[in-house]
């Protein structure tokens, strides 16, 4: 995985609360056996009309959204299923961070494993971001700060281990496999 240190981008805003994994990627796109190319299916039901043409008023279809790497979303983003296809689709589309006032547990854990930063900010900062779509913000994973265009900086919580892995491009499986001797001892001691 490529290391992530800082991210600077304009934002795209989807203010709805409880944007669930079925909206992020509907189930009919889950019949894949690989991870690639899912950006096409991102927000499919919101993004395309029944005939497959882009809906002009959906935020990702507007010209100003092009190239944005930071999605600002409403409270409780990513609730619902455990499908890792959700962060795969967001990442494949080009997003590298989701900013919200709350992010669902399993989605957050999946995002961290795929180079997509889940950034949880306080309600006031969240409101400001929602009200200023297209604002250029900087997310610094080293200092765990998000900087607004006026220079204000807010810190965001992130698991220290996940942060370490992301900063250094470390794969968690490698870390876990290094624990195999302890795992073997556990199995022997507990009759597993």
């Amino acid at each position: 995985m490529e290391p992530i240190k800082t991210l600077r981008s304009t934002t795209v805003v989807m203010p709805s609360t409880n944007i669930d994994t079925d909206q992020i990627i509907p189930a009919r796109y889950l019949t894949v056996t690989t991870k690639t190319g899912l950006g096409q299916a991102l927000f499919a039901d919101l993004r395309y009309a029944a005939d497959g043409t882009p809906k002009p008023d959906f935020v990702l279809n507007r010209p100003e959204a092009a190239g944005s790497r930071i999605l600002v979303a409403g409270h409780n983003f990513g609730c619902g299923s455990s499908r890792e296809h959700a962060p795969w689709a967001l990442h494949d589309y080009g997003f590298r961070a989701v900013v919200s006032s709350a992010i669902a547990d399993i989605f957050k854990s999946n995002a961290l494993k795929n180079g997509l930063l889940p950034v949880i900010v306080d309600p006031a900062t969240h409101r400001w971001l929602v009200e200023h779509p297209g604002a250029e913000v900087t997310i610094d994973l080293e200092t765990t700060e998000l900087a607004l265009p006026d220079g204000r900086r807010v810190t965001f919580p992130i698991d220290r281990f996940a942060r370490h892995c992301l900063l250094n491009g470390i794969d968690e499986l490698g870390y876990l496999r290094a624990q195999l001797p302890a795992i073997e001892r556990y199995e022997a001691a507990h009759g597993r």
Binding site: S16, N18, T31, S81, D105, S109, L176, Q179, A182
Partner: protein
Amino acid sequence: MPARTMFEKVWAAHEVVPETPDTPAVLYIDLHLTHEVTSPQAFALLRAQGLKIRRPDRTLATLDHSTPTRTEQIFGDEPIGPTDAARQVHQLEANAKEFGVELYGLRDPRRGIVHVIGPEQGHTRPGMTIVCGDSHTSTHGALGALAFGIGTTEVGHVLATQCLLQRKPKTLAIEVGGRLGAGVTAKDLILAIIGRIGVSGGTGYVLEYRGPAITALSMAERMTVCNMSIEAGARAGLIAPDEVTLAYLAERPHQPRPEDFDAAAAGWRALASDPGAAFDARVEIDASALEPMITYGTNPGMVLPIGGAIPGERGDPVLERALAYMGFHGGEPMLGKRVDVVFVGSCTNGRLEDLQATAKILRGRRVAPGVRMLVVPGSQQVKREAEALGLADVFREAGAEWRESGCSMCLGMNGDTVPAGATAVSTSNRNFEGRQGVGARTLLASPYTAAACAVTGRITDPRDLL
């Protein structure tokens, strides 16, 4: 030792390496369940890294999500469709063979929805840690197992090491007093709980359902409750093992040898939270006050007693958008609204008791003209039992479709979908936009309510037909 909650006991017994501020715990996983949709990329990772499955004996696979439910497609000559769904099914068959994992394959009499077959076949036991690439893994908590959904990367971690990196969650006690009234079910209870704490109210917590209304529930009902923990944002839900649990376990195909059963049972009873154990948070609900519940919006927290009126506050964009999607208006009553499709099934309400409840209402009645009703057993065993009891005949005679087991219309990726704009009363667990098909409008309810709506073609209080 200080008083501990059930969660703390199970967690502590599975810590291979405890967590530190810098590193998560390494948690041992006793049982890993897999299915065709969230496993292909994990097997591919193993293959790419030249790894084996560390404990194939603790891994079990089944086919349910993209697997069709029409008999001709399972036992006849009709192909599985669409083609990419067929590819996923065949991929799991190939992966199971290559990596030495037991698979309950397409025509296996033990096949079914992963959260139905785990308990049913006796794989799920109290005190275990259980994971699956599926968020409704919380179901298994009904037997006192710490069970939660994981992503595909984590599926790969468990396949390769039998462990997961996890931060310890907090605990939330849901104390349910009183007793459910006639016609009010476990489904209504969990919908009411989600309505109370909200769809993110359980985020970061493991729920423990306790109190007299919980101990009065059967195993199937407990599974319905724990199943929907994730709809409140909680990854896991637990219920302490008791005599009901032990009686259920004693009848399973896989269980400890008879001479070991009593020792195991003593250990299982000891899992219950100690008196005075501290929870991080607590919520109290009175079951006696509950009525049949139904959702009106696009998440399971948008729920009301069936006789109630849809909320109508102006200026709430979330509510307005949900009502626009559903084609509803604030202030309208739910009763009497037209229904196009009724789905009984899923890992929430696809067990024998759920089908018995459905049959209780359908017996001697017919599905209303213009309504399509689909009854899908949660497993092949449930199917056989329902057929032996004559329930399948009741469904067919009423005009409902009776299928092979699978996820079916719960998520609509196997050919069973709700058409755009149609209103479906469903015993499943998610009423998200597009969940049951593009533009489908889902109302979540109990099997009683679903069957009552099928008979009248309108939203109906099932107590009127019981």
